[in-house]
Subunit: 397 residues, 2 copies
């Protein structure tokens, strides 16, 4: 009747983000929804675009025979064709259905990728701070996540990444636009990283996969999110509709493999096999058919941009420093080094909570001394939080 030891350990230090989610719900019950400044979780409050509702209603009404049955584990061929065309345009390569596998969200897709490529003891490199679930995803499949500090502006420290490469490196995992910092990695950095991986591969005989986790690709502010698949042969992109169509609860996304990957067929078969045996079996059928019709739809990014600007204003007014987000809907702010916080993110988060502001300590992303705010909430709430931020900064003095 015991549970697994690794799980027991993990539970004792489990996701601060989810903990905040539950705490936030408690506080809202106590004080009212509009009194709690809950910036803790990346649960988009923007509704899916109207086109989603139209397609959902139409497919629900038509509901053709067999439309909720099994399909090939990789997904419907026509859905994969539609999505591959779009992914090809985004990544500067020519893709067809065979390069794309439907996934149960990006989290499901990443687990499938890691299951497919990791041998016991293999390493995946990641730039720190990072979305902490990556650590569990990697260890799920016998691998080890190796953390390499980002540069002070949270862009990739490529020499440091290169120094961490070894024959055990199965993958370098990047995430742009980035959670928790909102950084978008420039094309030049992707190119330099790809160069380094090619050199490393040529030298040691093992080319690491470049795995790009891109759920925020569509959420970027007046900046192009550079392509990855055209930059490096051994690259894999994972994406989802959780953010671009605000469908995180529906668990729908996909994996795309570079058309020039070596041993490509084996890789794709491995991804399909992993999809099956990890118990995903396939991405949800109805949602597959819906997103295939929505390749040109996305949520209104201008709404997120206005919120980002409102958040910057609130933090500026309170005198809190932060890293300017170029995409995603997170703002990573620096905990004041002065009294009473002395750079302690947990202390700062506690003080914020006193003012009913919920954020997630940077420690939960491998970066103590910082706090993440998710601004996928009503702009009014952000404006309304400004006095509370000011109060936190003055009350402790």
């Amino acid at each position: 009747m015991p549970i697994a030891n690794t799980i027991r350990e993990a539970l004792s230090s489990s996701s601060m983000i989810r903990k905040m989610f539950e705490e936030g719900n408690q506080l809202k019950k106590q004080y009212g929804n509009d009194k709690v400044f809950d910036f803790s979780i990346g649960n988009p409050d923007i509704e899916p675009p109207p086109a989603f509702h139209e397609v959902l209603c139409r497919l629900a009404t038509e509901d053709k025979k067999g439309s909720h049955g099994y399909m090939p584990n990789a997904g419907y061929a026509d859905v994969r064709t539609a999505l591959a065309e779009k992914a090809g345009r985004e990544h500067g390569v020519s893709l067809d259905a065979t390069h794309l596998i439907m996934a149960v969200g990006a989290a499901g897709g990443l687990n499938v990728v890691l299951k497919a490529i990791l041998n016991p003891g293999d390493e995946a490199l990641v730039s720190r701070p990072y979305f902490m679930e990556y650590k569990a995803y990697t260890s799920n499949h016998g691998g080890c996540l190796v953390e390499v500090d980002a540069l002070p502006d949270f862009s990739l420290d490529i020499p440091a990444l290169v120094a961490a490469l070894s024959p055990k490196t199965a993958a370098v995992l990047i995430n742009s636009p980035h959670n928790p910092t909102g950084r978008v990695y420039p094309a030049a950095d992707i190119a330099r990283l790809a160069d380094a991986l090619r050199k490393h591969g040529a030298a040691c005989g093992r080319y690491p996969y470049l795995v790009a986790d891109e759920p925020y690709r569509e959420i970027a502010y007046n900046i192009e999110v550079p392509p990855v698949l055209c930059a490096y042969d051994e690259s894999i992109v994972v994406n989802s509709y959780s953010k671009s169509l605000s469908l995180p609860g529906e668990r729908i996304g996909y994996i795309v493999v570079s058309p020039t990957a070596s041993d490509k067929d084996a890789l794709i078969n491995a991804l399909i096999y992993a999809t099956r045996v990890l118990g995903f079996v396939n991405a949800p059928a109805l949602m597959q058919r819906i997103v295939a019709e929505l390749t040109h739809a996305r949520v209104d990014v201008a709404v997120y941009e206005r919120r980002r600007d409102a958040f910057k204003q609130a933090l500026d007014a309170a005198g809190i420093a932060y890293s300017e987000p170029e995409g995603a809907f997170y703002l990573f702010c620096k905990v004041p080094d002065s009294a009473p916080f002395y750079g302690n993110d947990r202390a700062f988060v506690d003080a914020l909570k006193q003012q009913l502001i919920l954020g997630v300590p940077g420690s939960s992303f491998g970066k103590p001394g910082w706090v993440r705010f998710a601004y996928c909430v009503d702009e009014k709430l952000i404006h309304a939080s400004a006095p509370a931020f000011k109060k936190v900064m003055t009350s402790g003095l």
Copy 2:
């Protein structure tokens, strides 16, 4: 750029069932849908009940704010309450929402359970023949599947199972109604197994979990599928709507934990954590809300019963022996021991394929010398296959 070694090995001997699925599609293209007797895959052809379409259309039209967003990883509380009530009635225990976790189908649920309970080197016992994916599910999480032959009538060989128990046994995995044999384990067998597990637990200090995989619970022919949760404290049930509502493509199911399990809270938290980090995150939102309204709906089991009888008739006429299915929609038939098959299931499957009959060799379930037919196909096709079965039995002589 290499893929994982275990995956490379698995791919070379990958699922015969899925292979037949693809081959079946090829043959259908070549000969026409109604000319191929495809009994290879358990993809229910019965449409979801009308109530499903009604609820789907209504929820699609209403589409309330936030209804496609994240919810707690375990699923919506009201959905879990509704399903817990039903599962409690089926299993003779009193359950509430806290005992039930929504899952991405039963395959997803089983992976979550095994992730939550297996330590490296732990064993899960299973009665052979069995659904072969169990092997991959177990090894995914560092465990080892130990196979124990069933009795000749495919019921549990309880003394043999007991003999295979060890301090490493984390779980005994049962599946009733059973794939591939259609056997329903009687209550007396569940009770004897529970007794044995209690004795083993008391003696060695570790009570194995009894994990019941029950996607076919609702598909049984004039026989009650006995409860499990009331029979043994350390029991866990996994179920899905893939068969009972014909929704296999939508990936919706659940896990229920015995209310008297020791260390229950830790187990439930472990299951929720595993749901999150394996990348399921949560079961698809819309389908959760739909199945909660369909606790009294199910597909028409009488249709499957008529098909079973038609299949028995076809095999009887051809002189092929089989095990009488009590539930599920599979018929496990014995390969003739005489010339030209000599009990060789692959040879028999090849001869069947010549007559455009597709079945899956028993080897794919750990039971050579037998073949599985899935009769989730139009009854007419079953009747039409009778001459082809006869031909197979006479042509080789």
